[in-house]
Structure formats: C-alpha cells, structure tokens
C-alpha cells in the first residue's frame, strides 16, 4: 500500500481550484479564436474578442476568469493500492477548497440551506465529489468549477426507447434553444445517456471534462456530436445570446448501459469559461 497523507491532498486541491479559475485551457481559447474568424455578426465578433482579452487579463493579473468561480466539482479516481492517512479523505478535499477559495480571492457561492434561509457557507464548501475506486496506487484529481448560470440550464429526461437517437438529438437541441443567452454562450454541451436517473446526469457532467474537439471514441456517437454541433450553431443564438453563428464550441456525448424499460438522457450545459484542471498524486 502506498500511503498518502491528507495534507498532500489538501495542498494539491488548493492549487487546482485556483489554477482552474485563473487559467483557461488553450483548447477553449483556440476554439474562440477560430469562431471570431467565422462569425459574420459584428456584435458576436466584438463579444468573442472581449472574451479573448479577458483570458489574457485573468492570466496576467491572476484573477478569476469569471466572478462565478462556481461549485467546486471534483471527479476523483482513487487507486485501490492507496492508503489515505492522517485524517478524513473528504474533509481534506473540502479543506483544499476552503483554502484555495480564500487565498485565491475566489467567490464563495455556496448556500447551506437551499430553500429557506439560503445563508452562504462562507468558504465555498461543501465540494461536490464524484469518487471512483480504480486499480493502481495513485490519486487522479480533476476539478471542474461550475457556474450557476449554465448549470441552471441543464435537464434530465427519462425518455422512451422508441424516442431513439432522433429523440435524443431533438431534446439536446431544444434544451440549448430554450437556454438562449442565459448559460453564457458559446456553450459546451455535455450529454449523458443511459445508466439511471442520477448516473446520466453525472455522465453528462463528466463528458464536459473533455477538451474542445475531442470526439467520442464511438464512431456513431462521434458523428452525432458533429451533427449536433452544426445544428446548434444554426440556431442563431450566438455569443451571449445576442445573435450569431457561435452558439456552442462543442458537444460531447457519453453513454453507458441502462434498464430495458429506460432511456435516461441528461444535458449539462457549460459556459464558455469551460474550466477544468487535472493532477495525479
């Protein structure tokens, strides 16, 4: 067994949440640069150029790309040969979030009780942690801070098998159409199909960890992704919903087996500040 102390996990998480919020991935910047050259709307071009300028400012000034530094969402692959020592594993993640959000001047956006008082927890905890146990003796930690505006435009539908792939496509397009400018387009669209109610949603979110341009390994789904992206970009919504050809930067589909009676489909929308950072301890 390899021993990893919780203090190491906290230290790594702290750096990850700060880096994810300050530095946008090159894949996103490149996709937006490409969109500028393809846009015909002057307003859309202007908005995309402002987004690119903002990437540079956030990086050089070390400021969050977006003030909504999000719910701290983690996908963690814990090697089964790892023995976590020195404290509580989940608490070590939350402690990293607490320190990172404070020291990185990130906004604390979590309320303790979602309905009645909605009092801010003050330190952006608790994090949302999706944990899987995998073979090996390392821990892979991915953080994907998720803003509220885009998350609010997400949806799960328990579809019928008879709806088929056309039903899935129509649902995805309709979800983007109804979102209009609210989720900060150009968006990234994550689709999770199968599993059960909650698993489809987690899968949709997990698909957003791909880099822009990274196609599904399934050739059929890869084709559907390309088709959906083309159709979404014909909706006209455009950057920030003010009209244009760039409504989405990419569409990612993931699927897993499901019950004979079910076809759960989840659409999780990400904003153009599609942030994620990975580290392996």
């Amino acid at each position: 067994m390899r021993e990893i102390d919780v203090s190491k996990i906290t230290e790594v998480v702290k750096k990850l949440v700060i880096d994810a919020n300050y530095y946008i991935g090159k894949d996103v910047s490149d996709a937006i640069k490409k969109a500028v050259s393809e846009e015909s709307s002057p307003t859309a071009k202007e908005i995309l150029n402002i987004i690119l300028d903002n990437h540079e400012i956030s990086e050089t000034e070390k400021m969050p790309i977006c003030q909504d530094t999000g719910v701290a969402v983690f996908f963690i692959e814990l090697g089964q040969e790892v023995h976590v020592t020195g404290g509580d594993f989940e608490e070590s993640i939350n402690e990293g979030v607490r320190q990172g959000y404070e020291e990185g001047y990130l906004r604390k956006s979590m309320v303790g009780d979602p309905v009645i008082e909605r009092k801010n927890t003050g330190d952006n905890t608790p994090a949302i942690i999706h944990l899987t146990i995998v073979p090996g003796d390392s821990i892979k930690i991915t953080v994907a801070p998720k803003g509220g505006g885009a998350e609010n435009m997400s949806e799960v539908q328990m579809m019928k098998a008879a709806d088929g792939i056309e039903g899935v496509k129509n649902f995805v397009i309709d979800r983007v159409r109804r979102s209009k400018g609210n989720p900060c387009p150009p968006v990234v669209v994550g689709v999770g199909i199968g599993g059960d109610f909650e698993k489809s949603a987690i899968l949709a979110k997990k698909s957003l960890l791909r880099d822009i341009g990274q196609r599904s390994t399934d050739p059929v789904m890869a084709k559907v992704e390309v088709e959906l992206l083309e159709r979404i970009n014909k909706l006209g919504i455009g950057p920030m919903g003010l009209g244009g050809k760039t409504t989405a930067l990419d569409v990612f589909i993931e699927y897993i087996p499901c019950h004979i009676a079910s076809m759960p489909v989840a659409v999780n929308i990400n904003c153009h500040a599609a942030r994620h950072k990975v580290i392996v301890i």
Binding site: I51, M63, C66, Q67, K108, G149, G236, L242
Partner: protein, 185 residues
C-alpha cells in the same frame, strides 16, 4: 450600423432615446450592484414606502456578485449574472426612476413593457469577461446589506464600462432580432 456612445450616470432620458439595440455603450460614473437577495429587500422597501439605500432617479443597477478584491485592487472579477432572476422585481424599480439595468440573458415581457413605459434600457455585459470588466471599476464600496456578502449592494465608480444595448426605449429586443437574423434552420 451600430454606434458607440459614451454615457455618464445618472442617465438622462434624452441620452437613452438615442440608443438602439446593438449599439455599444461605455458607461462612466456611479452604478449600483444588486442580485436576487438584495432585490427582494429593495422591493420590500418600495412596497413599504421607505427610502432606498441609494438615489434611484436615473440610476443604473448592475446584476453582479463580484469576487473578493486582491490587495491593491478596487474589486475582484465582476462579470454580469443572469438577469431573468431579477425580472419579478425590476418593473417596481423602473416605475420609481431606475433607468438602466445591466446583466446577461433576455428579460421577461413584463420587464420589456415596463422599460418602454418608463423610457429605460437593458444593457448586456459580456458574461464571463469578469477580469476585463473589473478593470473598468475604479472604486467599490458596500452601501447596504453587508450580511449578503458578495450579494451586498455596492456603489461602483466605473470608467468606460463596456456593454451592448439589448433592449432600447422603443421596445426592440436584440435577443429576438439577433437570433432571427442568424437562424439558419
């Protein structure tokens, strides 16, 4: 072709009447921040006939909950939040003198109608351009509801704050028209 206007706050009706959807506006002067929780309190004050924590005549409200300021900075990253959540409260504030709101995303029919009735505009800021927008904010001070933390009401001094006219005083809607123009379905 869209124009670029430099406007000062408090906003004058004759300036607002010049604006058309798609025009770019660079705002200079004082603007106030408020989000969902602060709006609930502001509208309650209006209903009770009490004074607001700032002068609403010609005022601009920016829907934002900024990130904390680093030492030496006036404010942290400060991009717009989604406006529809403020729709239920906005007409009551437009009725008493609010002249512009800044946020992202389209507004309800009630807000659109109220803007025409009250000669007011809705300005779209670029969501996610939060570090760039923060650089146009020279001073920030909490003036009410400190308990709401990032959602407290702040008085911001801005210079050339960049936004786009999404709804003008004539009832035009760039969200509708922009989407129609570029729809290729």
């Amino acid at each position: 072709m869209a124009e670029v206007y430099k406007l000062n706050t408090p906003l004058a009706v004759e300036d607002l009447k010049k604006l058309k959807i798609g025009d770019k506006v660079l705002l200079t002067g004082i603007i106030y921040t408020a989000r969902d929780a602060a709006h609930k309190r502001l509208v309650q004050l209006v209903e009770e006939g009490k004074d607001l924590p700032f002068d609403i005549n010609g005022a601009v409200i920016y829907y934002v909950g900024p990130a904390p300021a680093k030492p030496g900075y006036a404010i942290g990253s400060a991009g717009p939040t989604t406006s529809y959540r403020m729709d239920p409260y906005t007409p009551a504030l437009l009725d008493i003198g609010l002249k512009a709101t800044i946020g992202k995303g389209n507004r309800s029919k009630e807000v659109l109608d109220s803007m025409v009735k009250n000669t007011a505009v809705y300005l779209a800021a670029v969501g996610g351009a939060a570090a760039l927008i923060a650089k146009t904010i020279k001073k920030a001070e909490i003036i009410a509801y400190e308990d709401l933390k990032s959602e407290a009401v702040r008085r911001l001094e801005v210079v050339d704050f960049p936004c786009i006219v999404a709804n003008d005083t004539f009832g035009s809607d760039l969200y509708e028209e922009g989407m129609k123009k570029y729809n290729e379905e």
